[in-house]
Amino acid sequence: MTAMPMSTPEASTPITFQDVWIGFNEEHVLRGVTFQVQPRETLVLLGESGAGKTLTLKMAAGLLAPNSGSVIVLGHEVSDMKEKELLKFRQKIGFVFQEGALFDSLTVADNVAYRLREDRVPVNEIEPRVREVLRFVELEDAMELLPSELSGGMKRRVSIARALINHPPIVLYDSPTAGLDPVTSQTILTLILRLRDVYGVTALLATQRLQDGFALANFHFDPETKRVLSNAHNGNARAAARASQTRFLVYRDGKVYFEGEPEEIANSKDEYLKRFLV
């Protein structure tokens, strides 16, 4: 089957995983995973190290193909697409890698501009767009620095800027706060909130930290005041709807162990889920 846009109802669901199996050397890491991510929703993917979170993100971006099952993203059956088709398709997806994965021989500005240059965007358009996204991640002053001159948090911010340069409808975050101190983690989460509430992106966020998910569920970014506000203090229906746009998915032993709303996981008596709450 070729990568034709689907006319089924799934076409309106940005990401669908249907009975996905993947593994290496005859050992399956994921065994029949099924879930969906709705438009403008942030699905927080929780699991221990090696649970298959990164594999899930890479399959969603078509960087890896599942052994069986189907991965449908933006109406395209990604698991059946050829690499040539995937290269074009991936332009609609922003991917924030765990360690940033910045090109270490290019400056911050060149890293962010990479995608635009590949798309042959006119030179005079590139600089303002790069400035715009770097201003968004508050790194406009670091344009000429090399990745080796940046701190861990700055690298992640550049990585986010690089992912959103062409305003993709879907952004995949691979442990964006892993290995960062609490203050820097908060900065990254604020960026993810802004991206969600300003641009309305659909996101799949893999993490080991439950508090990341709760931060996304309990707060929102107000574009008017340009501040992060708690949903609880707002108390209106709009805020509640915002909060409901974050859901949790927990992997255990290669399967979906839990899928549900933030309140469900917070109030859960399950011993395994409680381990993430500590």
Binding site: F95, L102, E118
Partner: protein, 280 residues
Amino acid sequence: MEDTPFQAAGSPTKQEETVSVLEVLSGAAKRTIASVQDYSQLSFRAMTNLATGPHYFQDTLDQMDDVGVGSLPIILLSGFFIGAVMVLQTGSQFTRFGQTSLTGDVVSLALVRELGPTITGLLAAGRCSSGMASVLGSMLVTEQVDAMRAMGTDPSRKLVTPRVLATLLMLPLLTAMMVFIGLIGGCVASVFSLRLSAIEFWRRAIDVLEFADLMQGFTKSLAFGFILATVGCYKGLSVRGGTQGVGRATTQSVVISSVLIIVTDTFLTKLSLYLANKIF
């Protein structure tokens, strides 16, 4: 045996499976065949990418600078002394028969047909093939290659094709430089050691060469350039096991490309001599 109480409580120790010699050998054979297949596919794609866009001219120029200009000092230095030592070795034998004037012929033929392309290939393999493997390997383990794919760029087009093309273009030129400087080294040695006239050395060195000899040297340098670039890129893009894997890939790229260059040289020599008799 358990290292921690968690392991002791959580997971039972696995029984070690016994594996037969046949299974080990068949596994190794399968892996080798799979590697050859992957290498062939990558090499094929590197070349077919040339036929369709997008092309990365700036990357190709950067690689030409690295492979060509960067390798020039070691090529020139080695070439000079190889030419000189050739004269000293052959001259000492020719002196016994009173035929020292033949030194120019021998050095010229050996350099153009054999030593020029082979030594250039081996030196470039040591310098460039290892460099390609380490750069691409490092990019792979730091997920830069995945990032490239995630942004819609074909790594074989952006990383492999420019390196292969640049090496194909540069190696014949480097070989020509080595042969020339080798002849200068030979000339200096023959003048000071064998008391030959420089003019006589050059006249004989040039007269002895035929078109087939030049073609033989040119073909070999092209083949060796292709081998060292594709092996370096393949080993870099197939790194497993983090930074240690990068180190292993770097070493393997030099070993494999050097051995392949020497083996290929034998067959190309036989083929070139056959074709020289038939065509030229």
